[in-house]
Amino acid sequence: MNEYDVIVIGGGSTGTAVARDCALRGLKTLLLERDDIASGTVGTCAGMISSGLKYMREPHIVDMCSSEVVHLRHIARHIVMKNPILTPLIEMSDLSSGGNFAEEYSKRAAEREVPPVMFLTPEDALKIEPRLSPDIIASLYFEEYFIDPFRLCLLQALDARNHGADIRTYCEVTNIIVGQGEVTGVEFFDRLSGSIERASARIVVNATGPWATRIAEIAGVPLQLRLNKGAHVILDRRVVNVGVIAKAVDGRMIYLFPHENTVLLGTTALDTWEDPDNLTASHDEIEYLLTSMSWVVPSVREARIIRTMEGVRPLVAQWKVPEDDVTRGYEVIDHEKDGVVGLYSFVGGKLVMCRRMAQTVTDLICQRLGVDSECLTHERPLPGMEDDVDVLVLSRQYGVPAQTVQRMVARRGTLTVRVLELLSENPSWRSTICACEPVIEAELRYSLREEFPQTLNDLRRRTRLGTGPCQSTYCALRAAPILAEELDLSGREAQTELLRYLSERWKGKRPSFRGDQLSQEEIVQGTYSCVLNLDRMGPSLESQPWEEVE
């Protein structure tokens, strides 16, 4: 049995941050994720590393958000980008309540290198964003930072691994072994090999987001979460020049953020008792978002919807208050109080806080293990951020179109060179596999060899393969054989993988299926059913959780 100091359960933003912190402090660490890195809640967020503007009622949280933005820009500048944001007002009452929020926000703006909140005339706002309604009477302006949430999690995991941690995906914890009131290890099911394994450690960190209550249950300790689901509608291409925030039909704030090659329209907030594995956006959620946003951006209804995504927020269990009033802070629960020493669970928190959350728990762990070690996660850069990269120089040097290099740099920073170096031995790996992004074969090969993806969906998280308007219509077909080659899959296994990936994409496309997606889907069906005959001769898939409900 393998021995560790710490076992982290959960490969989301918090879990990978904890693994990284522990590894950087010299603890022998194992991270277990039952699916892939960033496959849960963090994979359904907008990637905003919020300045905390929304949480002005909780000044300590605003302070924390602001300083964490500074840290993230310091350690991961290459995957952080800035979005200017307009908040157009149709009437004065659209101005968010709370009165002095602008002042509160502006106090901390300088450290993040953004301006204080400013007012723009309707004319100026319309020049910046002609899609705004001509009826606006004024607009607020401020700037926020966004991060690629998939890359953040992956880079944290890779950095942890570089510092000695073991990262195991597709390993589901089935038991937390407790002896005499103390954690001694975990038992887990390796879904890739089909075997059950054990690992020992005195510390287990439950960083499983909305699934935290399940892990607590396994360990026999009580844990409460207020699960709250949120939907995003993903629009094709960057149809707005800048971000737009608006008041929704029920007075909540919703947003339209340019994100990668899409625009995200989000989000809803509904208390949920559904299985977090089994969620899709509802028609009501889609309409809520479209109707609300169309008041300030009337054309949003004509925009092409590619798909939807639905995630679950693991909020702190405060009840009998509206969701908006629940603290956005986090808590680390030491289950010693429940009679299990060495088990810690996270509840609450936001993406922007993940590093801080990890620091808090790692401090506790070090204390318990008697290790005297400083936190370094806010100082050490994440892989790829060591230097600036000149896109045009790389493009010329390696004979790869500038845009392809630019996209790779936005994901990989200086590590782009490692991908491009593969081309000297394999010149034909310049082939574009996913045209939407674009992603070339070399990046897939590199990712498959260095970033432990097991499925096409995992490749998507690492490279943005298939995230464009066509949603893998063409690239899945070309990527599947590459995956099969690198992972040594049989023809049948590759087909299974292909069908599973198409089904996963379809899960998000189906709720908003309309408009141009009808013809897009006709091509998908024409290709995979009509031409490739996978509907008849392909392997039959095991049902995925979401497929159980019609």
Binding site: D236, A402, D516
Partner: protein, 411 residues
Amino acid sequence: MSDEEEAYQFVLGTLSRERIVPYSEAELPIVKSVEQCINCGVCLNHCPLIPAVGVMRFPGPRGIAVRLSRSPPEFWTDADVIYLCTGCGTCREVCPNDVDIPSVVNMIRKRILRTMPDLVPLPLHQLQERVREYGLAFEPWEDPEDKADSRDMRLERLGLPLFEDRITDHAEVLYYPGCQAEERAQEIREAAKVILEHFRVDYTLLEEMRCCGLPLELLGDDEQAEELAGRLTEQVRSLGVEYVVTTCAGCTSRLSEIAVSHHWSAKVLHIVEYLREVIGEERVRDTLRAATGPPEAVAVHQPCHLIRHVSRNIGDDMEWLLDLIAPVTVKHSGVEDSCCGGGGLVNHHDTKTSDAVTRVNVEAIGALGVDRAVAPCPLCVAQLENAAFRAGVDMDVEDLTVLVAQYLSGE
């Protein structure tokens, strides 16, 4: 400066640092059309650039559509491909969803010119300067006498008469020769006059010919293009003409566009259309029936800016016109509607790529063994001629207007 003005200036600063050039109101329909792209790639199978230079160098129209999805901040990364597009519009024509790629190309070029002008090929900067200085895409002749000599030589070679320029302040038709026929291929300008005189058309020329603005649109200088459009609009209004007749494919499409955007009451027609629709099939038939001469076989080239940027019908009009001329037999190459490679300003900075596109035409026409190839566009004529010459293929290329004028005046 008020707080709000200051705020706006600050925002502009951020946008510029983040390289965001906001879409303007006028650009929104183009952006919208790209949303309809389903990546089917039909355009890739028809884009003339891909067989010419390969998908590695030029990712094709679908690649361009994808480019737009990274907008606004990453336009500049397209500088290595966006200047290779010849703007033929084949992609838009075969596209199941009418995605307006040619306009997307212009939009991206516009943004690169504005935000990172260093990435624009030098000859395009020079072209922009030329238009700014002379109002023409070609540097004018220094000595008017040299210009006249060149014209006379051409007319003599072609056996065309010279008519005095008509310049009046009111006419039914404005004949707009375009920069190339004005300064270089003067025989086309004169041939058009022969035709108009022959049919006793009440026409005028402009006192001073100015560029239609297409080259500026193609290099991304829409401000100067708009200036020229505004100026021409005033002239057309004050002349009170009913028709603006052109002999250049690019001018026809550009002026047709301006006519819509600037609400002209005058109709823009290529002279081929003018003959069929306004002079009338009967009159033209009666006149051309008399045309004589030794039999000749011609191959036709249909300019993209007519058939794909205006209407495929013009291809029919051309065939109709040639069919009327008894000595002429039209032979079909099968690639008459294939891009000549000269468009999109590619021939200004990358003749190799232009010629690679032209090759299809040169080879097919060369194999037909015709007496000459004709095209109703000075740009196509020059590109086909030059590319054939550079490829060592012996081929006579003539403007269709010239050919018609020859048969009319030979009568």
